[in-house]
């Protein structure tokens, strides 16, 4: 019973944060709404007994990526008059919602026609660091190494892009 109440609260919060991201004009307000969505999604992961992912979602997504985002917004010093003129954005949002409604109802139909699996009791170790680590290094070793190469490439690329000087000077 308590878990259902928590699920309802977290899902309403996450949808409200997502709608706020799409509606607000200034990117700082949008970033704050997205932080609300991330934190409520972390609560949903905890409800699904994914302990490691709960911690990583809070630290990496709501912590690192969003603070990088807010840092960039403040670094660019975005004023309200610098923002693009979006007079028709509610019209575009309405049109996009009309176009996306069939997609949404199709996906909803697909999802609700899945064979219903009720929640079973899982052991206390489900989703812990040790168990996920065993799965990661036993079955997913090659994708893990590829992701490490991807992170190295992203690091080199970010340094190259950020350290670019004008060629004429």
């Amino acid at each position: 019973m308590f878990a259902e109440w928590l699920f309802t609260g977290f899902s309403i919060l996450s949808v409200l944060g997502a709608i706020g991201l799409v509606i607000f004009r200034h990117p700082m307000n949008g970033a704050m709404s997205l932080v609300i969505t991330m934190i409520s999604l972390a609560g949903l992961y905890a409800l699904l007994s994914a302990k490691l992912i709960f911690a990583i979602q809070l630290i990496v997504y709501a912590g690192a990526i969003m603070s990088l985002m807010v840092f960039i917004i403040m670094f660019l010093n975005v004023q309200t008059e610098d923002l693009p003129e979006e007079k028709n954005r509610f019209l575009y949002l309405f049109g996009g919602a009309v176009v996306l409604a069939p997609v949404f109802f199709f996906l909803k139909k697909v999802v609700t026609s899945l064979p219903g699996s009720e929640a079973t009791i899982v052991g206390g170790g489900f989703g812990g660091v040790k168990e996920v680590g065993l799965v990661l290094f036993r079955d997913w070793l090659l994708p893990f190494e590829i992701v490490s190469i991807l992170l190295l490439v992203a690091l080199v690329g970010a340094v190259l892009l950020a350290g670019k000087r004008r060629m004429s000077q």
Binding site: S117, A119, W140
Partner: protein, 98 residues
């Protein structure tokens, strides 16, 4: 039970697509892409909880690593474009137009 989580994931994904197609601010578009990645993560975690297997957790961690790499690169590109054009409008960034 699992259907509730998956429907929430579909709702978040559709809102993310809506943000990508209807907004012109490049930072909002980028954050909408992050929202779509999060919706996919929620579906992964819900499936792995209801099938009692931890492969979904590993996939969610990989999605997070890809999102972190994407954030670093995309924000560097946004800074360069802002320095070049002085605007955050995606209509201005049409440098590849023939």
């Amino acid at each position: 039970m699992i259907q509730d989580y998956l429907i929430l994931s579909v709702i978040l994904f559709c809102i993310g697509i809506l943000g990508v197609v209807s907004r012109r601010n490049v930072l909002i578009v980028f954050m909408s892409i992050e929202l779509m990645l999060n919706a996919a993560n929620l579906a992964f975690i819900a499936f792995s909880r209801f099938h009692v297997s931890m492969d979904g957790h590993v996939l969610a961690m990989m999605v997070m690593a890809v999102a972190a790499a994407e954030a670093a690169l995309a924000l560097a590109v946004v800074i360069l474009l802002h320095r070049h054009k002085g605007k955050l409008d995606t209509n201005v960034f049409s440098l590849l137009k023939g």
